[in-house]
């Protein structure tokens, strides 16, 4: 139990510290820690958590910490993972605020941000690849022609800035109509 909690803490500390580039870029980091490294959840469960995160308020990093923490080690686990994911942002932002660093004008900080930019785009792409072509067969996102049809329509609507919550709810309704009966 203690070692599981410790592993959760370390994983989410890493996710918090390297969580550059916002929600979708963090997905590949979260996937790497909770699916690939620790095997706490399957690919399918991971995709479901992303869907749930889209429908509930709050950042995906915190949502996934609370959810996976609970799955792995109950309420204690969810508290430990949630606190861990907040620690890096907290301490770094306090330092930045305290010294009122005008980071955007510092050329080294600009260099680091620019150097990480293509990696962040690659991280988002790898999250997409991991869900389209997973290495294990359990919980695949694409199971038949309907899946690809939903994907194509969702891609079109999402490129036209349709509200993501609406998109998820509509695709859930489509799922019930297609697979439920």
């Amino acid at each position: 139990m203690i070692s599981t909690l410790l592993a959760l803490f370390v994983s989410y500390l890493k996710i918090g510290f390297f969580g550059f580039g916002g929600g979708y870029a963090m997905l590949s980091l979260i996937h790497s820690e909770v699916v690939v490294r620790n095997g706490w959840i399957t690919n399918g469960e991971f995709t479901d958590i992303v869907a749930i995160s889209q429908m509930t308020p709050g950042p995906i990093a915190i949502n996934s910490a609370t959810y996976i923490g609970y799955e792995v080690a109950g309420i204690f686990g969810s508290v430990v993972a949630t606190v861990a994911v907040c620690i890096p942002a907290m301490t770094l932002m306090m330092l930045i605020t305290h010294f009122f660093l005008r980071l955007e004008h510092n050329r080294y900080v600009r260099g680091v941000v620019m150097g990480m930019r293509p990696v962040v785009v690659g991280m988002i792409a790898s999250a997409a690849l991991l869900l389209i072509l997973p290495h294990d067969t359990e919980g695949q996102s694409f199971i038949d022609g309907w899946s690809w049809a939903i994907f194509a329509i969702a891609l079109l609507l999402s490129a036209r800035k349709l509200n993501p919550i609406l998109l998820i709810v509509a695709s859930g309704v489509a799922g019930v109509l297609i697979y439920g009966f």
Binding site: G22, G58, V109, P118, M123, S147, A174
Partner: protein, 181 residues
């Protein structure tokens, strides 16, 4: 104490009503922090956004630490963080408790089979927009990152570190050529 409660309450609202994460929540944060409470000026908010995006971690969390710490130091930062985290923590914990009981329900399974491809579409959408503005060799770095992380299961952290190091080197060399900013 009253001021701490106000900070907590404001960020509780931000935490409870920011669906989808990332850029979708910026107008709501701006309204609360700049227009309603006058904690930051328009200009300070712009600076804060740049910093919150460059620093790791969710934007809402980084904003909370910045505003909270600026007003009431550690207790202010803690009140703001609790405000952002509590709604998403409570909601996701409830979802986790009930979803693990319902996930094998026929209708719930059908709905999630429909939602999974839509989630992938949501992740793919920003990649296209981000890649459009990049030079070909940056796109190549992004593609190489995506393929390696996906195929070999290597943690994206190593790519972030490498990208940051390249950016630092680039900034240092450029600094020697044109002199310090």
């Amino acid at each position: 104490m009253g001021e701490l409660l106000t900070i907590f309450w404001s960020f509780l609202k931000i935490g409870a009503f920011t669906f989808g994460g990332g850029y979708a929540m910026i107008p709501l944060i701006e309204h609360e922090v700049v227009v309603r409470r006058h904690w930051l000026s328009e200009r300070e908010f712009g600076d804060l956004l740049t910093i919150a995006q460059a620093a790791p971690g969710p934007i809402s969390l980084n904003t909370a630490v910045f505003v909270g710490y600026k007003y009431r130091k550690y207790s202010g930062a803690l009140a703001a963080i609790l405000g952002v985290v509590v709604p998403s923590f409570v909601i996701i914990l409830l979802v986790a408790i009930f979803f693990s009981q319902m996930r094998h329900n026929h209708w719930v399974e059908a709905a999630f089979m429909g939602m999974r491809p839509a989630v992938v579409a949501l992740i793919v959408t920003p990649i296209i927009g981000l890649a459009k503005g990049m030079r070909w060799w940056l796109v190549a770095i992004a593609a190489a990152t995506a393929l390696t992380v996906w195929h070999f299961g290597i943690s994206p952290i190593w790519f972030l570190i490498a990208g940051a190091a390249c950016g630092l080197l680039w900034a240092a060399r450029r600094g020697e050529e044109v002199g310090d900013d």
